[in-house]
Amino acid sequence: MGYSFPEEALEHVLWFLSSDKDRNSVSLVCKSWYEIERWCRRRVFVGNCYAVTPEIVIRRFPEVRALEMKGKPHFADFNLVPEGWGAYVYPWISAMSVAYPWLEEIKLKRMVVTDESLELISKSFKNFRVLVLSSCEGFTTDGLASIAANCSNLRELDLRDSEVEDLSGHWLSHFPDNCTSLVSLNMSCSGSEVSFSALERLVARCPNLRTLRLNRAVPLEKLPNLLRRAPQLEELGTGAYSAEIRSDIYSNLAEAFSFCKQLKGLSGFWDVVPAYLPAMYSVCSGLTSLNLSYATLQCPDLTKLVSQCHSLQRLWVLDYIEDSGLEALSASCKDLQELRVFPSDPFGAEPNVFLTEQGLVSVSEGCPKLQSVLYFCRQMSNAALITIAKNRPNMIRFRLCIIEPQVPDYLTLEPLDTGFGAIVKSCKELRRLSMSGLLTDRVFDYIGTHAKKLEMLSIAFAGDSDLGLHHVLSGCDSLRKLEIRDCPFGDKALLANAAKLETMRSLWMSSCSVSYGACKLLGQKMPRLNVEVIDERGPPDSRPDSCPVEKLYVYRTVGGRRIDMPGYVWTMDEDSTLEFS
């Protein structure tokens, strides 16, 4: 009866648990398991930086070595979140510089990172190894120079899709000569010309370098110099893929590629000159990932290229690939799991390429492992969506963007409700869905009824009434993130499903019909939600309660209202009626 499981044994077992979900479950068993678990949690993931405070995290988990965090709402990617909204990482770095001297990894997405933050990181954590800044902004090359200069054990520096202010290209030269630890370097988003000789020497002295993503400014003629010094590379992002047509440049490049027997992923390809494509053919058969989304190649060149990549699992490409290229893809790349087709002329009034729904249908037919799709096109039909749903019940992520809003099925002129309905009905493991085209409340009924594993839903210019929103909030059991723009959804559905919002990470609604009064009410009713009204027209109090707000962002939090809001963001909470009375 007095027997208890020794703590050391439990700790040893917990060491093998890496999944947050599992660790969270463990910590709920009993108080002593909670205590043991919290002392040995090394990795923390914060999906919304405002859901919790640094102090709370540090208090609960004193021995963290790796932090991953996300900031702004996803629609910030499309300029729907005004400047200065928030998501500043500095308070976190400042707190962790004291609490976690042994911190090794920081991975951030959509956060504002200043040079000050970067400098503090570089000086506070002696064993710092991994910095990933995904879609971040607020820093300059000076901040990068601090990281390069002070982090002597740096393994990964990945700036994917971030905005860096280029004050000088010499930041790369700040890596000391004795820095040989780099495994991954991604500077593709940077605009400045780095010192090529510094880059060359850095690559040469890092024998474990596996990922190298150059920026556009690195000329093609110089690429062989890097490849020869790093034949062990697995992922390469080229710079501009263009040069004067010269046979010596060509043969040099082709030979250098042929030495890279481990290459699995390629990206870059800005300004591509087709004549230089064959130089990389030798690596095609081993490629599992190919990002051609900046390559303005035309259909024949694209087709020829992808047809040789028989091991391809992931392809990102512009719509220049056209239906015929996608058909060739479906015939050649039977291992394809993820396809993203981006628009080459998103704001043009007329189609500029021959890419239709048929391309996607072909790929869904020919690629049995296809599970993740992002597709921009200009026409769609229910029939095509039904076919895709039937072909690919294993779909996990389906994001379709028909460029013109509210466009119906081009064959029948009906809404695309049945098509998307077929998708959610057939693809039982669907986790992410983005819809477009003409959609009524009916599609939301289908989604609420069938999309039980759906975690993230993006809706734009769709629906007829609150019923649509109600179907989603009441039916989607696994929903974590819901983002809505320009839909006629209002107060009723939101207030009726207020409790649901506490089970989700966040809700974004912009250009909808949610009134200020409803926002206040929601804030009052739900103390564990932050209900933030974003309105650039001035204080919502200066307008009637019935007036719809411009944008609404609701998220669950244990951190209370945030204190860093800009002038156009108002938090609705229990006190809000008192404050303004």
């Binding site: 988003c189 998103p346 043009g348 009034a349 390429v353 921009f376 809003p405 734009a460």
Partner: protein
């Protein structure tokens, strides 16, 4: 026929001047014709009086459809990230300046449901081009003559030049043609009647 110059190029004033004379009658006393000189194109145009009414209608329709080449933009739609937009814009600008990639033009054919695209650089002369078009579109295009155009053909190849004018394929030297051709339209012979009669 009043036509506006829709596209602002680096044309000199003389080139943008509208003329109704017969082809070849205007003597350009200045420089020998270079393939990239748009001013020479105007000299070889057929006069408006030769175009029949239906052709004029088609052309003015084309003018209207060009009015807004881009639509008013909704904020954040379509959902393309700004760094992608910038890259696409840069590259579109570059390709219209440089000679690097192909010279792709759209080809429409009366009666066909969708357009095709061809790379003009792929062909060396009109003979190759017409043969390519005939193969691709499975249409009958007759033989060109300067006097009669394609009179009698089931289909007649026309093109829109840099000034927005619709021209008969074959009238100007090949080099001049590929540098001024923006798109091709294969018209039904019956609609192109009158183009061949001087």
């Amino acid at each position: 026929l009043e036509m506006e110059t829709i596209y602002v190029n680096d044309l000199n004033m003389k080139a943008t001047e509208l003329r109704l004379g017969l082809p070849g009658t205007d003597n350009e006393s200045d420089a020998p014709q270079s393939s990239s000189s748009s001013s020479c194109v105007k000299n070889n145009k057929r006069s408006s009086s030769e175009m029949n009414a239906s052709f004029q209608n088609i052309v003015s329709e084309q003018l209207q459809s060009h009015a807004p080449a881009q639509k008013a933009q909704v904020v954040g739609w379509p959902p393309v990230r700004s760094y992608r937009k910038n890259v696409i814009n840069d590259q579109q600008k570059k390709s219209s300046e440089s000679d690097g990639c192909g010279m792709f033009v759209k080809v429409s054919m009366d009666g066909a449901p969708f357009l095709r695209k061809i790379d003009l650089k792929f062909y060396n002369n009109y003979f190759d081009l017409l043969r390519g078009l005939k193969d691709m579109l499975k249409c009958k295009i007759g033989v060109y003559s300067e006097r009669e155009g394609y009179n009698g053909s089931e289909f007649v190849p026309t093109y829109e030049d840099k000034d927005g004018d619709w021209m008969l394929v074959g009238d100007v030297p090949w080099d001049m043609f590929i540098n001024s051709c923006k798109r091709l339209r294969i018209m039904k012979g019956s609609e192109a009647k009158g183009l061949g009669c001087l």
